[in-house]
Amino acid sequence: MLDVERLREDFPLLHRTVRDGRPLVYLDSGATSQKPRVVLDAERDFYEQHNAAVHRGAHQLAEEATDAFEEARGKVAAFIGGAPDEVVFTKNATESLNLVAYALGNAGAPGAVDGADPAVAARLQIGPGDEIVVTEMEHHANLLPWQELARRTGATLRWLGLTADGELDLATLDTIVTPRTKVLAFTHVSNVLGTINPVSALVAKAREVGALTVLDACQSVPHLPVDVRELGVDFLAFSGHKMLGPLGIGVLWGQAELLAAMPPFITGGSMIETVRMEGSTYAAPPQRFEAGVPVAAQAVGLGAACDYLTALDMTTVAEHDRRITAAVLDGLAERPWVRVLGPLDPQKRCGAVAFVVDGVHPHDVGQVLDDSGVAVRTGHHCAAPLHRAFGVVASTRASFAAYTTLDEVQAFLVALDRVPQIFGISTSGAPSRGPREVLSEARAKTSWGE
């Protein structure tokens, strides 16, 4: 079991107060996590002792900076069970996903990558008649790049819908994912519902039809043990700042043979082999996908975050997350005026619980919580289609990290009880409509998910 009180000592920000001296209850780690001192120290140490442009220059500092950067790559690779050459550092997960989408869009151009294995290159090409499959629960970052890729290439975007319980509707899997499918992009864990998706079933289906799989792991890597080989996906994207690491760094992991055949997304310095006025050739992965001076200090910070989480042990972190999630779900179940979105079984979810209070806008719920020092996210959480499917404009989301305590869950529930007081809504009786009814009503009114 995690010694949460002890590990909280590592996070300076968690000890500050907000709104006139109230202790901070930070339940917005799904948006961005707080950082332990070792991460901040690692960044500071890089800047104070080793700062230089990575992969450039013949001086000692350049060597040290390059070593630190590549050592961080090795730590990240080990953390997710991949090889260092399969780990591409990006600005954030959004860039990682765009990198794949743009590279696939460029793969069809003649001479996209010299010497690429033709069979592998063919898997990457996409055009009219091809289909890209996503899900209705995607964060916009794993939806818009695919919408755009479909628009640019003439491919068709299709998607898996949701069940009323907030799980993927796999009943339609065989009709949506077909031999026409070139890409199946989906989230490991929903950033709103917390739903843990059945990766193995989706990967098996994608393999059956020869489609590439792209996994958005932003909300799983901070909470669950993640091993890219066990998952069996082709690409996996996540951000550093949601997993106790710094802002400004993301990761794309890709199967080595796919990365080798993939054309670049962003071009420029650092990613080349030879450059001539008539044309250029590109470096091998991962450098091919890291144009410009790399974000070395952030990579070093992320490496420190991987060390920190490894020391906590991700299985232990996952158990802690389940305990917190269960406590939140139990507390909300005692409040019939609250409607939880997503699975009610804590085994099926992690990281976050989103909910609505019928009759009170999420912004108002969030503001009341903030007044008690409780920080949550309100809005559509960059998942507007998901909210539309549930017949709501927005929701309130409490999200967790390894440093979240059961006392904080209690503080959140007590603060939440002020909402019906302030807005004068009834706290007795069951909500008039459950998610199932709302979803079917919303579906009757719109064509979403059809």
Partner: protein, 172 residues
Amino acid sequence: MDLYQELILEHSKHPVGAGLREPFDAEVHQVNTSCGDEVTLRVGLDGSGEAAIVRDVSYDSIGCSISVAAASVLAEEVTGHSVAEALRTFEAMRGMLTSRGTDAGDEEMIGDGVAFAGVAKYPARVKCALLAWTAFTDALARAGIDLPVRAGSAPTTDRTSQENTESSGRTA
């Protein structure tokens, strides 16, 4: 908490003049892209120029209590007044909302609008309170009113409302 004054809660539960009515001179639809709040607002005028009388403000507001109450107070404060008076009310309202709490608001000028003084302390919510007002001035412009340059406007809030709202409209 001083944000949720009784007046604001009352206006949000029973918004004055809610619903879309005809006839109207211009209709504007504004969306707060950061939170999805929406307002569709119509303005009906008698006369022309700044002397025109705001005959009717009708609206459909979907959003938080602050944005719904703001539309309600707007309708109450400007209906039956001249465009010139309505614009003065708007400037007083905006001045208070963007003051970060230093301007408590003039009840003579903005009526129930003073209940929004607490909103000024929450920068993230100022745009909720301004959504309907922005829609109203946009609708006046679409109805052919020549709006004066906004003297003394707070640039940060202007930027916020520009970045976070999308507007579309039509004239009847």
